[in-house]
Amino acid sequence: PGAATAAAKTDKKFVIGFEQPLGGQAWRETGLAALQALAHSPAYKDKVTLKIVRTNDNDAAQQNAAMQNLIASGVDAILFDPASSSGANAAITQATAQKIPVIANGGPYDSKDVYVVSTDWGNAGTIGAKWLLANLGTNKKVAVLEGLAGVPLNDGTMPGVLKILKDGGAEIVAQGTNGWNEATAQQNMATILRSNPDVGGVYSFLTGGQGVPEAFKAAGLKFVPTVGGSGYNGEACELSNNAAAGLKGDMVFGQPAIYAKGLEQAVKLLEGKKIAKTQLFPPLEITAANAKTYCLPDQAANFQLGYDFPGLDIKVADVVTYYQGK
């Protein structure tokens, strides 16, 4: 029935479903807020209606079922942030059969039937690794904190990162995990520093810009070049506040507003325009040079930056409003 209704609806609003598999997580909620901000902006508010579904635990089976529910409720297009790189195939097959376009939005997805609108996560990992190599001093000992073991993004990226670091002459003396959580990053970095106080650099994947420097401060050690990247306000401020104390860092992160970018592409597609099948956008980088411009001193440490996307012009105030669940 999908194809028929889609055709009949051309003069009506497009109904666009969004499936988000980790309810309550800050980055993704900020993304949804940006998505809603865009959908309610003058350019879009007469064109689209959103149907947002959140499931829990980053669980592919639940995501798959929720996407099937979206299909059943007659959406015109589906955006989803993949819980796994292949777990939604059943729903995608069904959507494709009903000519409902599906866009993997926020992460990569392995399927020829799916459009991908995502940050270039693979590069996000290697950009940081290359920066670290370039900024290491004579001390080539490096500590590495991976993200969350078993998550595709982490396990797809970390081998490449480790290879680059090793090939570049760094010696990886300690490995831990940051759990994509600044508190965990701080605790595990502190643990590592207890046994390896002499590291010359830290690579922490997509989190750790606050926790890692805090651990150094707590241990009374001098800062070393640090790669982080949660994109929290605190990360930017940490970098700008401690620049004088010698903190050098490269915070590489993807904007959550990529969800809004996904919406833009979905609308284009529904309007009959052609879009590229795979669109990977470069991540943002906060370094000592631009940290001051990113740091919002009146916002909390875990305010998520990257609420806007180049070319979309989303306002902080709107994002905050939708973040509050309006």
Partner: protein, 332 residues
């Protein structure tokens, strides 16, 4: 000696008695109410498409809950159930790359069984508390799983999807068919074999079972083994419905399987719990999110509503009994 006259009641009266004894009346009633509300809000559930997607979502949870139920029957609780599910899922998905389906299934079930035997051995023969053992083994099994396969993948084929979760049968979702097979087989084991009764008995009083000359430890070990096999089936069904193996796929089933067993009215001290009640409880809890979606309610409410369902379905009979007693006392 006179001939026995006692078992003259119809068998279904006996079945109802058993359901009541096993605490399954409230969850069955709750499921019926839930189902009716669901169909009123979203009649589309009864279309083939929606029924199938609902079934595919619910069947792995139902199987995980049945696995949890068996452990609960012997008076334990399995914190490692999600980890076992992930391991079995991953081993199966990887084996599918090289092996024919039956062998891959054997591999997946074998991996799960090994975990079950490990837990069961520690609980039954070293007499360690189940909750503590499985807490530790959850860490261990989870780690092994991620060593085997660090990101989603594996060789699940669309044909396997068709066979486990697809449109193989007319109207009836095939996953329900497989669940029914497993459920009936489990029912036969638990209700129609001595071993099954031993499992119930061990949960009720292990010392008494031992004093009766039965192998209580063996029954406990068997329960853990049986549970892990059922859970592995769940893992395979999950791999089929998502067409992928995933080292974190089982994580979310820990809390939900416990909640489902609770909703099923099973006694966590052991010895009491119903298969039908557990399956229906899993269906109820598994579909709360979908119901809210079709009712247009903010999906955050699903957490609140699931919790309230569990608390009220288990709690309301208690309140009812107390008020009933109070009223009777006032009257007398």
């Amino acid at each position: 000696m006179t001939l026995p006259t006692a078992p003259s009641r119809a068998w279904n009266a006996h079945g109802v008695t058993r359901l009541r004894r096993e605490g399954a009346v409230a969850p069955v009633a709750a499921f019926l109410v839930f189902f009716i509300v669901y169909v009123i809000i979203n009649p589309g559930l009864l279309t083939r498409f929606q029924l199938q997607s609902a079934a595919n979502l619910v069947v792995p949870l139902a199987l995980a809950a049945l696995g949890q139920l068996i452990i609960v029957l012997v008076g334990g609780i399995d914190i490692s159930i999600g980890a076992i599910m992930s391991l079995s899922n991953v081993v199966f998905a990887l084996s599918m790359e090289h092996l024919p389906v039956p062998l891959a299934m054997l591999a997946g079930i074998g991996a799960g069984l090994a975990c079950g035997l490990f837990n069961g051995f520690l609980v039954a023969y070293l007499r360690l508390p189940a909750i503590a053992v499985t807490l530790a083994s959850a860490f261990i099994i989870g780690s092994i799983t991620r060593e085997i396969m660090d990101r989603p993948g594996g060789g699940i084929t669309p044909a396997f999807y068709l066979a486990t979760s697809g449109e193989l049968l007319p109207y009836l979702p095939i996953s329900i068919f497989w669940l029914a097979i497993v459920g009936v087989a489990l029912w036969l084991v638990l209700q129609r074999s001595a071993l099954g009764r031993h499992i119930y008995g061990v949960g009720s009083s292990a010392d008494s079972v031992r004093a009766a000359g039965l192998n209580a430890r063996g029954a406990q070990l068997a329960a853990f083994a049986l549970s892990s096999v059922i859970v592995s089936f769940g893992a395979i069904m999950l791999a089929g419905s998502t067409i992928t193996g995933d080292p974190r796929s089982g994580d979310s089933y820990l809390l939900s399987s416990i909640a489902a067993v609770a909703l099923a009215g099973a006694a966590f001290t052991g010895g009491r719990g119903s298969i039908l009640g557990t399956i229906l409880a899993a269906c109820t809890l598994g579909l709360v999110g979908s119901l809210l979606f079709f009712a247009g309610v903010n999906s955050y409410w699903q957490y609140v509503i699931s919790a309230l369902i569990v608390i009220s379905v288990v709690g309301v009979p208690v309140i009812w009994r107390t008020t009933y007693l109070a009223i009777r006392r006032v009257r007398s």
